[in-house]
Symmetry: none
Subunit: 236 residues, 2 copies
DNA sequence: AAGTGGTCTAGACCACGCG
DNA sequence: GCGTGGTCTAGACCACTTT
């Protein structure tokens, strides 16, 4: 997506080199002065880029030594934050059951919307996660249409929304709040998850915060956990 | 703590004015240029200070308008890791229903024990969390007896096991892994949680890692979430 | 048009790590 | 001593909001 500013261009360049292994984990980036020459700019701008990468957990700075490339999964224990591609150890197949489309916000929400979100339409899509061909999670997702255009279902990187955000829009997940509930399956849910009506269902509502301050991603997950529990992990 | 740098000095000044209400919530800070004059410095430095305040959630910037003072939220990530005292906003009363005692490990577990844990007996205790007098969470806890002696129920700091560990043993929680399941209430659980048999129950099994590498704390939580959902939050 | 924050230039000096 | 990142100066131009 558009690198309108020079510091974003530098960020994107470094991020891409890190993600492809051109800048190896544990090694040091070129020095700020070298990056200045490479991009024909000044330290202020280079430092602006490095600072963002620092905040997003890509690098770590060492005074007098340089900027070191970090293991990218480090602080993200949070499996939920990684999306379900990472949350379950089994072979997961994701089906985009409702492709991204613009609609109005759902009425029932666990989280308050910001003013700008409230004023905007929202982009909605639904995915179903299958394990061994059996549906295990139904996941509704929403975000403000004014902040980010709908992403074409075909453009999803490996079926993952987060990977798509990171690689195509340079947006990283910065944190999340969840609410967890146990509910019983409605007729509709029971059908989608192929379980009996009134089966116990794990209901997770979540708001993900991103490196784009105006952009929150909202999710509502319905999980049948009898065979495959949902795993989370955290690091302090 | 010393304000060695000018941007910290500016930050401290603004933070203090916000916290004492001199800069009212919802109002705009002096403009960057005004702050430059006030502190006899340049915009780079003022902006560095404002940027930190932004990251810490004190202000919000509006292009073309100014920097607005925000409602200060508590937001202290990782509620689960901090234990349930912090997980629920309501008035929570904790009853130690089974005081710490030495027994053998339970047979059903979600996590594999280390060799030293396996070789040791375990300390077990059970707590029930009540909200407004109604039981909401039944929590079983275990840890290896060889690593830490049983803590007397009367010595629990504010009923919190984690606070006790931190304040009396200088042990901090470093992370956790969870498994989440939705189940239906057994007769025994239904009785303890005062709900109908077969009600949906949120079942969380968790292992907390601590700053003592040999010490893991294991938990099994049974939560009735119809009235009070369980909240989690993370930060990257 | 005037004022605000957003980006950027072209320097400077300092503190830290290493040889 | 030299290269690194940390802080800071003194400007400039742009984009956005308000009057």
């Amino acid at each position: 997506m558009a690198n309108k500013t020079k510091y974003r261009e530098i960020m994107g360049y470094i991020k891409e080199r890190i993600q492809t292994g051109n800048y190896a984990v544990g090694s040091f980036l070129p020095s700020e002065n070298e990056l200045c020459q490479q991009f024909n700019t000044t330290r202020t701008t280079v430092r602006r880029a490095l600072e963002e990468l620092l905040r997003e957990g890509f690098i770590q700075k060492e005074h007098g030594r340089g900027s070191k490339v970090l293991e990218r999964s480090k602080s993200l224990g949070l499996l939920t934050v990684k999306g379900f591609s990472g949350a379950i150890d089994y072979d997961v197949n994701t089906v985009i059951s409702v492709p991204p489309n613009i609609t109005s916000w759902p009425t029932m929400r666990s989280f308050a919307l910001s003013d700008t979100e409230e004023a905007s339409d929202c982009v909605y899509f639904q995915r179903i996660r299958n394990i061994n061909g059996k549906p295990v999670v139904v996941e509704d997702n929403w975000y403000a249409a004014s902040v980010l255009e709908p992403i074409d279902a075909a453009d999803f990187v490996e079926g993952s929304f987060f990977k798509t955000l990171s690689q195509k829009h340079l947006i990283e997940i910065m944190g999340a709040e969840q609410e967890l509930r146990a509910i019983t399956a409605t007729a509709e849910l029971a059908k989608k998850l192929q379980v009996a009506v009134n089966s116990p269902i794990l209901h997770i509502t979540v708001r993900f915060r991103t490196s784009l301050p105006e952009l929150n991603l909202y999710g509502a997950l319905y999980c049948t956990t009898t065979e495959y529990p949902i795993r989370n992990s955290y690091s302090v």
